[in-house]
């Protein structure tokens, strides 16, 4: 499994079973950056996780990915909520947002 960093660190974990629920060490190539909970890191958008084909049978992977999915969604939900709140306040609209102020166009 590859943990893709959105910040600085790049970490490759070959043995997931040792890491689930524990505190993996995020390292910048060559040195330790910080020690934080992996799911927290995902929730904070510090890292993104991808699974390689040869890792799909790792025990506990499905359950772990469900948790990753949950925290990722939660994080995204909070970000989007803040954005929508701000959009409503400023009457702003962006094309990538599925939530848009209505426009009644005179016909």
């Amino acid at each position: 499994m590859k943990i893709i960093p959105n910040v600085r660190a790049t970490v490759y974990i070959s043995d997931l079973s040792l890491r689930v629920g524990e505190n993996p060490v995020l390292i910048e190539p060559g040195r330790v950056v910080s020690s934080i909970n992996l799911l927290d890191a995902v929730a904070q958008g510090l890292v993104k996780i991808e699974v390689a084909d040869n890792e799909k049978n790792v025990p506990g992977l499905t359950e772990f990915l469900e948790k990753v999915d949950e925290v990722t969604a939660k994080s995204l939900g909070i970000i989007l909520s803040e954005k929508i709140t701000e959009d409503i306040r400023k009457k702003r609209v962006t094309s990538d947002s599925p939530v848009r102020p209505v426009l009644f166009l005179k016909v």
Partner: protein
């Protein structure tokens, strides 16, 4: 016949205020002399049309006492005191299975209570202890000339002028009471960003704060609806689909509401409790297919032949409504069924011909039973009975009580 009216909210923009104005205008048109009491000051603020304002203002000029008093008051906040001599009618409504306890005392201020729904006839009789003889069923109505099918003056879209194939919507005070949890969840289950379908949500200023939180819940993959089992089944779709929502939390002048309705393809209203249910009825008058809960007051007009009734799974408290009024705390609401709601929306989307025909029949039903001319004639007839000394309102009970 002179009718003294106490209706302090009648200059406002709420459905209750609009209903009050229509009752007054139609009663006046039918020859009842109106006297509007308790209006502290008269200055035009643009909320209602100038024409309506002027007409209401005329009702404040009089120099005789009324024959009968009529107090239109939300939540039974009747203003009667010892200075109000003569026969006193109070009109009110409530949306839960049990009326607040304070209603019992409030109702004793009146000689007769008018309620707008069969549901409220029962709740005022059973939980507010108003004897049936003192209860009259007086439904509110719709201006069927204004809420009539025609091309809208507006196309509903967004600032990119996106062309949508299907836009359906809800107009409400945004809250769980109105079933917005079902509306948002089903929209995200049924449609995707590429569906060319948009949900229109028209809420109030509270909605501007609550709506983003609800969206965060959806996007987070958490459940907005109470049924966790169903949520688990549909979760993958609801938080990944990202279908379009068009929102507005601003106020519109009265004459804009029918135009908004006419720009929609369908109207949804899976409310947990209504004393009458004016928005779905106005939509029906516009020939829109309507999805709404067959529970509380709406049960009497959400009929399968003319609409898409959402079944209710009995009665439940809903703490998410507690912030609206403490009178909701621990009270019981209808429980609109999520699957029933979702399938009804899909039925309209996938079979527009049937939906259209239901809409046509719905308008006919509204014209026959709920046009203001019909309901104010009913009111006038009861006023005549009172003037003639018939104090029991039994001729004005709902059919099931006759």
């Amino acid at each position: 016949m002179r009718l003294g009216i106490i209706a302090p909210l009648v200059f406002g923009s709420s459905g209750f205020a609009r209903a009050g104005r229509q009752i007054m205008f139609n009663l006046a048109d039918s020859g009842v002399e109106l006297q509007l009491y308790g209006i502290p000051k008269l200055s035009y603020d643009g909320i209602i049309s100038r024409e309506e304002f002027n007409r209401l203002s005329e009702f404040t000029i009089f120099d005789t006492l009324p024959d009968i008093w009529f107090n239109l008051a939300p939540q039974c906040m009747f203003s009667y005191n010892e200075s109000h001599k003569g026969y006193k009618i109070g009109m009110s409504m409530f949306e839960t299975l049990y009326n607040p306890p304070s209603f019992i005392q409030q109702c004793t201020k009146c000689d007769e209570i008018w309620v707008p729904s069969e549901f409220n006839f029962t709740t005022f009789n059973e939980s507010s202890k108003v004897p049936k003889e003192k209860l009259a069923y007086m439904p509110l109505g719709v201006e069927t000339d204004l809420y009539s099918p025609r091309p809208s003056k507006y196309k509903i879209t967004d600032s990119f002028n996106t062309g949508y194939d299907f836009v359906y919507g809800i107009i409400c005070g945004y809250s769980a009471r109105k079933g917005v949890d079902l509306v948002l969840t089903a929209h995200h289950e049924l449609f995707t960003e590429s569906s060319r379908v948009a949900l229109f949500i028209k809420g109030d200023s509270y909605g501007a704060k609550l709506f983003p939180k609800d969206m965060a819940t959806i996007y987070s993959g958490e459940s907005l609806i109470n049924d966790i089992k169903i949520h688990k089944e549909i979760r993958a779709k609801t938080y990944k689909n990202k279908p379009i929502i068009l929102y507005s939390f601003q106020s519109y002048p009265d004459d804009m509401i029918p135009e908004i309705l006419l720009s929609l393809d369908a109207f949804v209203f899976p409310s947990r409790g209504e004393g009458f249910g004016l928005p779905p009825m106005e939509a029906m008058s516009c020939e829109l297919p309507v999805v709404a809960t067959s529970g509380t007051s709406m049960e009497e007009f959400m009929l399968p032949d003319i609409s898409y009734p959402v079944k209710s799974n009995g009665w439940k408290p809903d703490p998410r409504c507690d912030w609206i009024t403490n009178q909701y705390k621990d009270n019981l609401f209808a429980d609109p069924d999520y699957i029933s709601y979702r399938d009804a929306v899909w039925d309209i989307y996938s079979d527009r011909e049937t939906a259209k025909n239901k809409g046509i029949r719905a308008r006919q039903f509204v014209i026959e039973n709920y046009d203001y001319k019909v309901i104010t004639l009913r009111m006038k007839n009861r006023l005549k009975e009172i003037m003639n000394g018939k104090l029991s309102a039994e001729s004005f009970w709902p059919h099931k009580y006759v």
